[in-house]
Symmetry: C2
Subunit: 364 residues, 2 copies
């Protein structure tokens, strides 16, 4: 089937770009001796996670327990849950999950670590733990190298868990790769301090896990790192491209939409709104626009209703017509894929595959 | 099961408030001789649509064809698709759908109306048409009463379609009900002008369909209106409450979330982010906050990661603890429900029902 025969709105993945993204990240990690543990929250699709493992990833990362359960059912046996698991219901499920796959959980409190230890004990299994450090994003993670070491020491003493090492997420770093070095070196220094203290306590540090897509290709500047967990790199998006961390030639994911109204002067209405793109704004300094029109960059996707995309075409010399199809690179690929029940893989305009977004809605 | 036993994040509907919202809108419409055709995009749940019909609605409204197909399969036989249907794939599906239910479609161009006429002809059915007028939102709809009449005249001449009347969506009106009158009267005047012209042409006008939730209870001030299509009223949300179109006592929908990290000073992290709430901002003048904490209004849900809610608690004297559960009224109920696979109905803290969001992801 030709891509133009897909009913719209349709989220389409360019197979050639996907392969390039897979290959380049795997080659970068291999070249620098870094482990690659891609975050599957970006796609939530087991078939794509298998492509990531086949291209050299050592395991996968999930945000929510439900995503990890899905991937374990699909045969993945090395899964990090990069999320603090709290509460009795979660710990019961974690106990069950730990019987079916090797599970690593990151957490930032002794209390949460104790719950995970009890879950593993009740299941008669072992669960690996990472202590999370706040690298400046101010979301999760302990605040100082000393706190990181204390948490690590608690983890080594708890039964049925194995302390693996440290992890962090530098979500605040959204500048061009060349401007990231000072920030990354600062994080590295704090990790080195914790590493040295841990060494003096006689505790083995096996993993330091970091890395987001914007910082991924700068990871070799951090001497403490042993692995990275990029997610968005598999597709890329305008948030990644607008800061110079990638370019349009590496944006694999596009929304194909149809013009459904041209009744209002200066406006063109698409059949894709926030229930297709998500409402995630562009996170650059302008913050304007909900996607980039590949064929008509002068048209601005100015606002989104739930099912309508409002194009401002006042600066466009082009005459848009009813029924015409347009391709839009979304701001945030993870959020856009999460809105879909299914997405399509396309090679040279031929639809070659169809993927169910199996992990959609697994927020628990 | 007690509501506190639901694993989080969980979207919960208060049964008593839902019943009140159903009853008050039905009573308002009955009292003013207005037809009620609720927009099911807010919930996408057939069970709730049935409650709306049972409380007096004459039919339902859908945005996308896929939502209408779902509701037709569920036995609904009077469905307005308030969306311009364009393209061969959509028209084939519309033809099939018109064999199973009475369908009304709104559109703003002769070209789209012709497509719908051909679809009905190919199916051997009749489809009802509404001509859409832009009431100031600048999204869809013809611009002047004269254009509205011209479009109506085209519709009356096309085979296999029945011209029913006019429709509009006043999406730009987001002020307190008392401040809406001048705007609503302006729209009413333009509709009256079109109505008079149509009368002089000898064309019968049976329906003038309008109304959003913020303007719903002011509809009796518009003399031309015969029915309204509110959606959000079934749940209400902070966008509706913040402009004074409802209050918290009528907000039926809350997100129940758990505190998963308190490691960063001044911050508390919830297990619900943009993949639970959506990223829809608060549409009042402040535009700040992604939901209202019922139990701790002084804590601000300042930003959302995909799976984390970032609470700013700097102004809160309360000591939040790991594992604690909090209730949040979301900004935009339609967007929040659309993120869920399922939601729960709760009566006096007991879970009494469980609804699958059957129409989720039906964007085509």
């Amino acid at each position: 089937m030709h891509v133009s025969e897909l009913d719209t709105p349709a989220v389409v993945v360019d197979s050639g770009i996907l392969d390039t993204n897979l290959r380049e990240m795997a080659a970068y990690c291999a070249g620098h001796g870094l482990g690659l543990r891609p975050h599957i929250k970006t796609h939530k699709i087991p078939e794509i996670a298998r492509m990531q493992i086949a291209s050299g990833a050592r395991g996968i990362t999930a945000a929510k327990l439900g995503e990890a359960e899905l991937m374990a059912r699909e045969g993945f046996d090395d899964i990090m849950i990069a999320y603090p698991l709290v509460g009795a219901a979660k710990l019961r499920r974690l106990a069950d999950l730990s019987r079916t796959a090797n599970i690593i959980v990151s957490t930032d409190s002794a209390e949460a670590a104790e719950g995970i230890s009890q879950a593993a004990r009740s299941a008669g299994t072992r669960i690996a733990l990472l202590a999370e450090m706040d690298a400046g994003f101010r979301r999760c993670g302990v605040q100082t190298p000393a706190e990181l070491v204390s948490l690590a020491q608690v983890m080594t003493r708890l039964p049925n868990v194995d302390f693996l090492g440290f992890m962090f997420y530098p979500g605040q770093i959204r500048t061009a790769p060349g401007d990231q070095l000072k920030l990354l070196e600062g994080i590295d220094l704090r990790l080195k301090e914790a590493q040295d203290q841990l060494f003096r306590s006689g505790i083995e540090l096996r993993v330091v896990s970091g890395g987001s897509t914007p910082t991924a290709f700068q990871s070799h500047h951090m001497k403490t790192l042993t692995e990275i967990r990029p997610g968005t790199y598999i597709f890329n998006d305008m948030n990644t491209a607008s800061i110079g961390a990638t370019d349009l030639s590496r944006c694999a994911l596009t929304v194909h939409a149809t013009v459904v109204s041209v009744a209002v002067k200066g406006r063109v209405i698409l059949d894709a709104g926030s229930k297709t793109f998500s409402s995630d704004p562009l996170r650059d300094s302008t913050g304007s626009g909900f996607g980039y029109l590949l064929d008509h960059p002068e048209a601005i996707l100015e606002s989104l209703s739930e099912e309508h995309g409002h194009l401002n075409v006042e600066l466009s010399p082009y005459q848009f017509t009813l029924g015409e199809r347009l391709r839009v690179v979304p701001n945030h690929a993870c959020a856009t894929v999460n809105m879909q029940n299914e997405i399509w893989r396309v090679s040279k305009d031929e639809v070659v595959d169809h993927w169910k977004v199996a992990g959609r809605g697994l927020v628990r």
